[in-house]
Amino acid sequence: MTDEFHTMTVLIVEDDALVRMHGVGIFEDAGFRVLDADSADEALVILSDGGKIHLMFSDVDMPGTMDGLALARVVHERWPRIHLLMTSGHHRLRDDDVPGPGRFVPKPWQANGLLDEARALIQA
């Protein structure tokens, strides 16, 4: 447990409930305030509420009108200050594939590896 991230808010977007809860757990343990959404559409509703969000952590493959990469492009366009961290078990993206100065972390996650990526993004 650390208070390194205690002023930070992360939005986790993941359609699988258990995987989402796992991600929420990792970020909460690290001190983040965590919001979560099960689709790109729900994520956009949360983002539009106007609360301060520092980091969006999103899966690539998701059902609905938009997949994670399309969501990332919209977020980068409308809220360019939000850091983007993408994840997938199927696709192996390069950091360059993520809009803006985003990053990619493959599934399954290791808690430390995931937080290292988040730290690198936020401190950049």
């Binding site: 699988d16 258990l18 995987v19 199927h90 599934k107």
Partner: protein, 375 residues
Amino acid sequence: MSDPDTPAIAAATTIDFEALFETAPCGYLVSDRDGRLVRVNRTFAGWLGVTPDDLRGRRLPDLLTVAGKIFYETHFAPTLRMQGRLDEVALELVAADRRRLPVLVNANTNEGDADADRQVRFAVFLAAGRRGYEQDLLDARDRAQATIVSERADSELREQFIAVLGHDLRNPLASINSGLHLLARETLSARGTKVTELMSGSVLRANALIDNVLDFARGRLGGGITLAYDAHTPLEPMLQQVVSELRSIAPAQSIVTHFALHEPISCDHVRIGQLLSNLLGNALTHGAKDQPVRVDATTSLGELVIAVSNGGTPIPEAVLERLFQPFYRGHDRVRQGLGLGLHIASEIALAHGGTLVARSDAVATTFIFTMPLAN
């Protein structure tokens, strides 16, 4: 041969050529130099269901199918003009009742005569049986080819199916894995902790199996193994992680590691992790359970070397040679999975410009992966 027969033979040799021409067991046709039929025997006319007189003045191509007409004009007639003869040409006649009669035609010209008198003589043989036989052969060939094409399509479909299935199986596995992580954060009894650990190991094994099957199907579908090179991130944490994952699957067995990775290594970290996981999984499954499995990873002389060795009964030379073939499962059929692990490991080695070899003696069985540090 006796004398009394001789007059009889002599008598028989007095042949009625007119009758022979008209009723010979083949069709006879004579045309003038323009191709108009001047004489047709009764045998030929009978096949077509007409009289010889009906045919006089007509041309041979008039009696043929459309394809035959074209062949006659473009090939048959010119060749005959140039060479003076033509043998065993397969054509189809069209009878008065529209029936088609497959025939073989021989033709020659009466050389030496004045051009104006030049005639073409045709001998025509019914070839229904022979043509039927040829057609059967062609049909059989077409059927065989159709079978090959359909089997290829089937096998491609099967491999696509495997790829899709493997892909989709990852989702529920990821879900179970996350559930286990969540449970591990709860206060569990000793038994609960043990159960979640074992379940994590099972998820790990299932994922490794899916990785191997997907790589194999992808290879068969022509995709091959693609690499994402990374020369900056240290490799050791990936190797440590693989070792600790496999320790959790086989907690009773001892794994001794020695890492001396002092130079940057340009490789695909996930793939090298998969290679080590396959080798280590193999060693834990087949090695003697009371002897440690050793993992050695070093960089020296411009190369990365990862060696995994286990004790136990030596592997015979003949088996060693076949270990890297897909679906090869040695003699130990019950314990093993699909037999893809070593095959995929060697494919990963190959993709990195490296090698994977196996040595086995009474002391140890060792798999040695070697690759250049720079790609």
